[in-house]
């Protein structure tokens, strides 16, 4: 009494499949996810039914995947013992497929009913199969049905005479070119990839051998705190799921318990710009292993495994919508990590220090945002200083109650570092990302901690000034020197400082440095742009001031220059010292400076030769 009816979808299925394969899904292998999702939904539906009816008390969901045949005859069968489809259900899911082609991806996003998703999920199978056969028996009706669909839009529906078990079986015949997706290893890998956390057995059967593919137990997902006592197991899981050997982790859980997870701490330092790749499961099924937005930005030292039932996936089911819910979840998960770090600070400082050393940038990023965190962690942060790279607690000790001096740029630090070091002066390089911000915030977490920004000019404060007598003695020489460097907008100062081997120290403010680079660029650019730069110079010049060339009277050569009486000689020596300081500091010279150098070199040669003749 079998009856066959032929129908046709009012659909351009080819176009639909193209949308799915090329625009929506990232790879054909998602068909595995879609069929697993269908099976899961069917099992969930049957369970929900069981809560009201006596029918399925003690019901256990199960999915079996079977591979048979070889080459082009390969068939993949996916069987679940879920709720099954009635004849009416089949017609409904087909009509939903019919709507799909009109509304495209929008429908995929909005369709949330079991039947609707079932039909749409099934379409993805056409990416790897030219024929889909669905055998199903609904728990409600008891009639066994067969549906056969082709990508050209034709399908048949048939009542079967044999009695199927309750549930659904889907048969996919390998489409030429898709053999890869039917290889047993590939199928197993995909089943595990998408379904590792499914709460019932997912079995794979190849050549009569059957084994379980997903994790045997996932009850800890209800209460991630349990994971603390199962360290080895969790780290193994991290390796299996994330492909990396981690050494430590932090359990995650939101207050509602609807989102949980494991935050694995990366065992290596990573680049600040690297992608945050978290692996996220929605209702036990993998949504993405590239989710970037489930943890706060500062948590870049974490690679996490997250499961949730409260976030809304995008149409492709590969990302989450950025909405208020996600915002809330993200900040709660961030709080878990922060709390754990604070807890470590109290009870396991060694463990924390280890992680800070590896992920200092991440922790500093958080500290900049979060005063409480900064208050607890600051002592362990390290900074580059003239005393070497040291932890802040040590630097504070060294400073002995005096303010911590820091430069706000790497450049300024370089300008003064050798002088400061020679004088045993503690200066921190605040030029690296977050460092200045942290130093400037210290005061707010502890008023006793003061940090003071040091500019290169301030270093001179620690120089020894001249005696009144020396001042008078060298006054006229300094005037000659000032006159020589005036055109370079540089002034001279005479001091005594260590190291004696350093004859001069050139310091320049950030604004003066900008001005310098503007002036040098004016020489290199087009007439139009040099006019523009000239206009801008006025604004910069106001703040720029002069650069300063400090002569070190402790240096024997400098001392001899100041004994000289020949004005031309002093001028040439000053110019040479200036040019030399520029070269040592890698400041490119402009035309007038190059001219200066040329002139003084010639002067010295001339003078040297002249002297030789006289002897």
């Amino acid at each position: 009494m079998s009856q066959t009816n032929e129908y046709r979808f009012q659909v351009n299925l080819g176009g639909m499949i193209d949308i799915l394969a090329n625009h929506l899904y990232s790879s054909p292998r998602v068909f595995i996810r879609e069929v697993l999702q269908n099976a899961t939904d069917a099992i969930t539906a049957r369970k929900e039914l069981g809560e009201t009816a006596a029918e399925s008390k003690g019901f256990e969901g199960k999915v079996t995947v079977e591979l048979s045949g070889s080459g082009e005859q390969q068939v993949l069968m996916i069987q679940d013992n879920g709720i099954g489809l009635s004849e009416e259900d089949i017609h409904r899911f087909l009509s939903i497929i019919g709507q799909s082609s009109k509304k495209g991806a929008d429908l995929l996003a909005s369709e949330t009913s079991f039947i609707g998703r079932f039909g749409i999920g099934l379409l993805s199978c056409f990416m790897v199969s030219d024929e889909i056969v669905v055998l199903t028996r609904s728990v409600k009706e008891g009639i066994s049905m067969e549906w056969r669909g082709k990508p050209d839009g034709t399908y048949t529906i048939r009542r079967l005479e044999t009695e199927l078990p309750v549930g659904t079986q889907i048969y996919l015949r390998c489409k030429p070119g898709s053999e890869f997706y039917y290889e047993p290893a590939q199928v197993e890998e995909s089943l595990f990839y998408y379904g590792a956390l499914l709460p019932y057995p997912v079995m794979l059967s190849v050549d009569g051998e059957t084994r379980r593919v997903n994790l045997p137990s996932t009850h800890w997902m209800q209460d991630p705190e349990q994971l603390r006592s199962r360290r080895g197991e969790v780290l193994d899981l991290g390796y299996r799921l994330m492909g990396e050997r981690f050494g430590d982790f932090i359990p995650l859980r939101t207050a509602s318990g609807r989102t949980g997870g494991i935050a694995f701490i990366l065992p290596r330092s990573i680049n600040l710009n690297s992608k945050r790749l978290h692996r996220v499961y929605l209702k036990h099924m993998l949504v993405s292993d590239k989710a970037e937005n489930v943890l706060p930005e500062w948590a870049f030292f974490i690679k996490s495994l997250i499961w949730t039932d409260e976030l809304q996936p995008t149409a492709s089911r590969e990302y989450f919508y950025e909405n208020e819910q996600l915002d809330g979840v993200r900040s709660e998960l961030g709080t878990c990590i922060r709390q754990e770090l604070l807890r470590m600070a109290e009870y396991e400082p060694d463990r924390l220090q280890h992680w800070i050393r590896l992920h200092e940038l991440s922790m500093k990023a958080l500290a900049v945002e979060d005063d409480e965190f900064l208050r607890i962690m600051h002592r362990w942060f390290s900074f580059e200083s003239t005393f070497g790279r040291r932890e802040l607690s040590e630097l504070i000790r060294e400073a002995g109650g005096r303010p911590l001096h820091y430069t706000s740029t790497v450049d300024e630090y370089r300008q003064i570092t050798h002088v400061a070091a020679a004088q045993s002066m503690l200066v921190i390089n605040g030029g690296y990302i977050y460092d200045t911000e942290i130093l400037e915030k210290l005061h707010w977490i502890d008023p006793a901690l003061q940090a003071e920004r040091l500019s290169p000019e301030d270093v001179s404060l620690s120089f020894t000034g001249l005696t009144q007598e020396e001042r008078e003695q060298y006054y006229s020489v300094l005037r000659v020197m000032d006159a020589a460097l005036q055109p370079m907008r540089c002034r001279t100062e005479l001091k005594r400082f260590e190291p004696a081997s350093l004859p001069v120290l050139y310091t320049i403010s950030q604004d003066a440095l900008t001005l310098r680079s503007m002036e040098n660029t004016v020489e290199e650019t087009t007439a139009l742009f040099s006019n523009v730069l000239d206009s801008l110079k006025a604004g910069v010049q106001q703040n720029a001031g002069y650069s300063t060339l400090y002569f070190n009277l402790n240096n024997p050569v400098v001392a001899r220059i100041f004994e000289a009486t020949d004005t031309q000689m002093i001028t040439a020596a000053t110019e040479m010292m200036y040019v030399n300081a520029l070269m040592m500091g890698h400041y490119p010279m402009n035309r007038s400076e190059l001219g200066l150098m040329n002139r003084s070199v010639l002067h010295f040669i001339n003078w040297g030769l002249g002297n030789g003749q006289n002897m």
Partner: protein, 353 residues
């Protein structure tokens, strides 16, 4: 020396955009200049322009670009003109931010770009479009309306800004003219997510807040504020956008606005663009005045980089410090632009005592 320069560039690559990265790149440029390695110096400057323009250092970007352009004109065959011409637009997007650059020079720059684009076979859409943007920057909205009508009639080519960027500038136009309904309707494809790029919807979300709020859609405005602020809050590039969020919060939720002010003031203090700084100061003063007037006596934490910022300050003290800064900046822009646009604008959001 070349090795050292490459090392520095690699170091810079590992860093997110910002002062630290620029310092390293500048060091590399200095070394390249000092050793006469022109091509390498050109390459490094390209990185400087890129980093500086998107992190609030337009002056540094302008200097580096000027150098590149001069070098390019000497030996055009050595370098990629496409990259340089594309960068030119970024520079034009920022030149109005410096009140010291006279209007005629700004105009000369756009003409120079027009000439160069024509020389390499690109059409006039970018030229007309930048005339539109510059007219907006200068508060000459009637002029802007004309350019808006012109640029859209020219076909897009590979030098044109992306669709999303152009659309966002049109939203900005109606935001500036106060045509709320127009602004919201032009913003639609951006709000729906159909048009996006690296800066859109970031810059658009802040410009629909007040229009929505004024139309009684407070909840929608709140949503867009939350999303929009999240997109821009860690990025120095968006100081003006952050200022627009503050302007909205001054009306919708002043207490929350304080957090935003405290979080970003240090950025504004260390900003090379006078225009964006002015926007921030003005929006902030407007907000603080609201709170002050409501009898709020809270103290605000100021960044330590501000000389007197090591102590908590009262609202009145802070207002007294920043208001003149915003006002004198606005006056300088108006002098350059030949109108009273910015002074009027500040007058609207700041209560005159």
């Amino acid at each position: 020396m070349e090795d050292t320069i490459y090392d520095l560039m690699e170091q810079a690559q590992d860093l997110p955009g910002g002062a630290a990265k620029l310092a390293i790149l500048e060091e590399a440029a200095r070394l390249a200049d000092a050793s006469g390695l022109k091509e390498l110096a050109y390459e490094v400057r390209g990185e400087i322009v890129d980093c500086a323009i998107f992190n609030g250092y337009p002056l540094k970007a302008l200097i580096a670009f000027s150098w590149q352009l001069g070098q390019f004109d000497q030996t055009p065959d050595e370098y990629d003109e496409q990259e340089l011409l594309w960068t030119y637009k970024w520079i034009l997007g920022k030149v109005c931010s410096f009140p010291n650059i006279p209007k005629t020079q700004v105009e000369d720059l756009v003409e120079d770009m027009r000439k160069r684009y024509a020389e390499y076979g690109y059409n006039e859409r970018p030229y007309q479009y930048y005339k539109f943007r510059i007219a907006m920057d200068m508060g000459r909205l009637d002029e802007a309306r004309q350019y808006l009508d012109t640029f859209r009639t020219i076909e897009r080519d590979s030098m044109s800004d992306c669709e999303a960027c152009e659309q966002s500038q049109i939203v900005r136009f109606y935001y500036l003219t106060g045509e709320d309904e127009q602004a919201l309707s032009v913003a639609k494809p951006i709000l729906s997510g159909r048009m996006t790029c690296a800066e859109v919807p970031h810059v658009t979300l802040s410009q629909v807040l007040l229009p929505l709020y004024r139309q009684g859609e407070a909840d929608k405005a709140k949503d867009h504020h939350r999303n929009g602020y999240r997109l821009v809050r860690d990025d120095r590039d968006f100081l003006k956008t952050i200022a627009e969020h503050i302007e909205y919060l001054a009306v919708a939720d002043p207490v929350k606005g304080i957090e935003v002010v405290e979080r970003h003031l240090h950025m504004a203090l260390d900003y090379e663009s006078g225009l964006e700084q002015m926007y921030f100061y003005a929006a902030m003063v407007g907000l603080l005045q609201k709170l002050d007037a409501s009898g709020d006596s809270r103290l605000i934490r100021l960044p330590a980089s501000l000389e007197w910022g090591k102590e908590e300050r009262t609202l009145t003290e802070i207002i007294a410090y920043f208001r003149p800064l915003a006002e004198s900046a606005a006056a300088a822009f108006d002098r350059r632009n030949g109108n009273t646009f910015y002074t009027d604008w500040i007058g609207k959001i700041v209560q005159t005592a």
